[in-house]
């Protein structure tokens, strides 16, 4: 039944999902789990682990979540722990922050982060800054989560990437998972963190299945915040990315490998704190760096990485400038052909990699 529901709710590129494993005490093997299911499982485990944790947002309870991420949770935990809110982002985000100030551990879902713009004052001025302004008296252990960035054909107002906006602000932690292991581990770490954490999920990834190792399935599995992961080893060029673009980078790396170019693909996992050390380590090996993100180019994640690499110890290791592959500098259009050109495609990455490798300083 669960498998059938999962199959019906997956998006494109999905791999059929096996039934959830039961705890029989026997050693579990690796599983193929969608990002959606791994988030769902993570929420379930954290709600179970700590009574102070609760989930609020639009449609999270009786609708099972706008994207079914919170499926089954209301049935299991009831009205007190899983709460449907009216369409009042600024209001319910503020309520969630107040509850966190008073010692609870809310998970505040935004149907997409586009709508969180309405609540951004509460996120930045009430959540992020309060621990500092109070001289350490009032911590705010809250998680804001929801889909971020472009989906497919939802046009400009529903396609913005907020990684740079939230990554800009001290007092926040910002994570951007790609795989099921990322989603599960980062969300669990976020809930357990004592600070406001933004979890930037991605709608197109919800239905994608990834392998979840035995270790990653355990109830206390967390992915540390602020640490990147090397998804693919390589020695010719470093690709740094986050969220869905990690997958596109890996596709590009496969194609480039056929031409003898071995790419090292780094999955940032966290936007803030940014694991610049992992990038520096890689650049010392490869001497070339290309950043890939879905967000707009100006003042973005790639811009920040470029600046830090230039200021840092590995500038002299570069044989080429750092190049950025980003969303196009325009509001995301609706028509399919236009939308495709407004977001990085695999061919854009391979093109820029070759530019980087041809360019000598």
């Amino acid at each position: 039944m669960a498998a059938l529901r999962s199959l019906l709710s997956v998006g494109k590129n999905a791999v059929p999902v096996l039934l959830r494993r039961e705890f029989h005490g026997t050693a579990p093997a690796t599983l193929q789990v969608t990002v959606r299911d791994s988030l769902n499982r993570a929420l379930d485990e954290e709600l179970e682990r700590d009574e102070k944790v609760f989930l609020l947002g639009e449609e999270v309870a009786q609708f099972d979540g706008a994207y079914k991420v919170s499926r089954g949770l209301w049935k299991k935990y009831g009205d007190r722990r899983v709460i449907d809110t009216p369409i009042s982002e600024m209001g319910f985000a503020g309520i969630a922050v107040g509850a966190a100030m008073a010692g609870l551990r809310p998970i505040c879902e935004f149907m997409t982060f586009n709508f969180a713009m309405q609540a951004i004052d509460q996120i930045i001025n009430s959540a992020a800054k309060t621990y500092y302004m109070s001289g350490g008296m009032v911590p705010v252990p809250i998680v804001f989560r929801g889909p971020n960035g472009a989906a497919a054909g939802v046009a400009a107002q529903h396609s913005q990437c907020f990684a740079a906006w939230y990554g800009h602000c001290p007092g926040l932690k910002v994570v951007s998972p790609w795989s099921s292991e990322d989603a599960r581990g980062l969300l669990k770490a976020a809930v357990r963190d004592e600070n406001p954490v933004i979890v930037l999920e991605n709608e197109l990834l919800y239905g994608v299945a990834f392998e979840l190792s035995e270790e990653a399935q355990s109830k206390d599995f967390v992915v540390p915040l602020g640490k990147a992961k090397i998804e693919r080893q390589g020695n010719r060029i470093t690709l740094v990315s986050h969220s869905r673009m990690v997958g596109i980078c890996l596709e590009a790396a496969t194609v480039l490998a056929k031409e003898g170019i071995e790419c090292e693909v780094i999955n940032l996992r966290s936007i803030r704190p940014l694991d610049i050390a992992a990038i520096e380590q890689s650049v010392m090996k490869t001497n070339h760096l290309v950043t890939v993100e879905g967000g707009w180019p100006m003042f973005g994640v790639g811009a920040e990485i470029s600046a830090q690499i230039m200021e840092g110890p590995v500038f002299n290791h570069l044989d080429s400038p750092v190049y950025r592959v980003t969303g196009a500098d325009l509001p995301v259009p609706y028509a399919k052909n236009l939308e495709e050109c407004s977001l990085p495609q695999m061919k854009d990455i391979t093109f820029v990699v070759k530019k980087s490798l041809c360019n000598k300083l």
């Binding site: 809110t85 209001g91 107040g98 008073a102 010692g103 302004m133 109070s134 001289g135 004592e194």
Partner: protein, 389 residues
């Protein structure tokens, strides 16, 4: 150290006038008196707060001392600001003392409160000693927020500031009330806002959710007639702020009468504790200063109006009159309190102006809670601060 809120709430044994030279025998005074209070305007309510209030001598002295302390503290802040020892924003509360003192007198230990940037007085009534309030204003290390927050960002137990963004404290307060209900503590949260903030959209979003979920939240509008330089008539299509909750019961009352405020808040707290949901109070009050220290306060209102209110409705004078006329205290006794308060404020100001600034090592602390030490970038790549707590 005298905890103001406890003294205000309970009938503590220690008189606020302890240690003074007594020129009259305490047996000469009445132990309590009953006063009439103005009837509240009500909205969606069938019962009302009582129109009489009992004031014990002890309570009266306590309220008087607290209000006088707030008055002198705010006037001292005015002075320090003009000397440029206090910087940035400074929003003073003198004239509105009956509101915060009356509210605090009605609250219990498990109750919470949040307010706006006009927060010095509440910081004091919620338990922070004057010297730590002033030291925060002067930006010193003994400030209640270690000098990191300043005038608009003061906090203590069960007090969530001090909020700089107009209206933002209302959803936050409802969230605190949510936590009270979630934890089953029986506590309520008082969420303060002004007539200016009353037009914020997030307040209506909060009213909807608070009523829907029956949150134990007392929304209080301190209507001091002016949102910065804009009078209520020029800002609001309806100035009946106590009706703004639409489906939330409301009371409008005299915010210059500390007893009226106390009785209404008690009524409101009982209402919330009974699980009936939120309630809205509008306190009609007045600020003697301008909106902030950069506002003389006379371009949008007349000096005559200010003088008139000071003459007829000063909350401290009103209480003094009540107490003297009903033999709860003597004029000399209250004068002695004035002298003691002035001395206390002078000492606090002395402390606040001589204490050291926060140490540079503290600049990057308090960014994250319970985080292993990490580095924080300064103004250029070669400046790195350490964050250790």
């Amino acid at each position: 150290m005298l905890v103001i809120s406890t003294a205000l709430r309970s009938s503590a044994t220690k008189s606020a006038a302890r240690g003074l030279a007594v020129s009259r025998n305490y047996a000469d005074f009445a132990s309590e008196a009953t006063f009439e209070t103005k009837k509240c305007d009500c909205f969606l309510l069938e019962t009302l707060p009582p129109t009489t209030a009992v004031l014990t001598r002890e309570q009266g002295l306590s309220y008087y001392k607290t209000m006088q302390t707030i008055r002198r503290m705010e006037l001292k802040a005015d002075q320090l600001y003009k000397q440029k020892i206090i910087r940035g924003f400074c929003h003073l509360y003198d004239g509105q003392e009956a509101c915060c003192v009356g509210i605090e007198a009605a609250l219990k230990h498990e109750d919470h409160l949040i307010t706006s940037y006009r927060d010095h007085a509440f910081t004091f009534t919620r338990g922070v000693p004057v010297k730590h309030v002033l030291a925060e204003l002067t930006g010193r290390r003994s400030g209640c927020a270690k000098g990191k927050g300043g005038s608009m960002h003061m906090y203590t137990r069960n007090f969530y500031g001090g909020n700089g963004i107009v209206g933002a404290q209302i959803p936050l307060g409802a969230g605190v009330a949510w936590a009270c209900k979630y934890n089953g503590t029986g506590g309520v949260c008082v969420a303060m806002h002004g007539d200016g903030a009353a037009n914020q959209g997030q307040i209506f979003e909060t009213y909807n959710m608070a009523a829907l979920w029956k949150l134990p939240c007392i929304f209080i509008c301190e209507n001091n007639r002016y949102g910065m330089g804009t009078s209520v008539e020029r800002a609001a299509a309806s100035t009946d702020y106590y009706k703004r909750g639409e489906f939330i019961p409301g009371l409008r009352l005299d915010g210059m009468d500390v007893l009226c405020v106390r009785e209404a808040t008690k009524f409101a707290a009982e209402y919330c504790r009974a699980g009936k949901g939120p309630i809205l109070l509008e306190l009609q009050t007045y600020r003697f200063h301008g909106h902030s220290m950069s506002d003389p306060g006379v371009s949008y209102r007349t000096r005559e109006e200010i003088q008139e209110v000071k003459r007829t409705s000063d909350p401290i004078s009103l209480l003094k009159e009540k107490m003297v006329n009903s033999n709860l205290a003597s004029v000399e006794e209250l004068k002695d309190i004035d002298v003691a308060v002035r001395k206390e404020i002078e000492e606090a100001a002395q402390f606040a102006t001589t204490d050291a600034e926060p140490p540079m090592e503290d600049i990057a602390n308090h960014i994250y809670y319970k985080e292993p030490p990490f580095e924080v970038r300064g103004c250029h790549p070669w400046i790195k601060y350490k964050s250790v707590c």
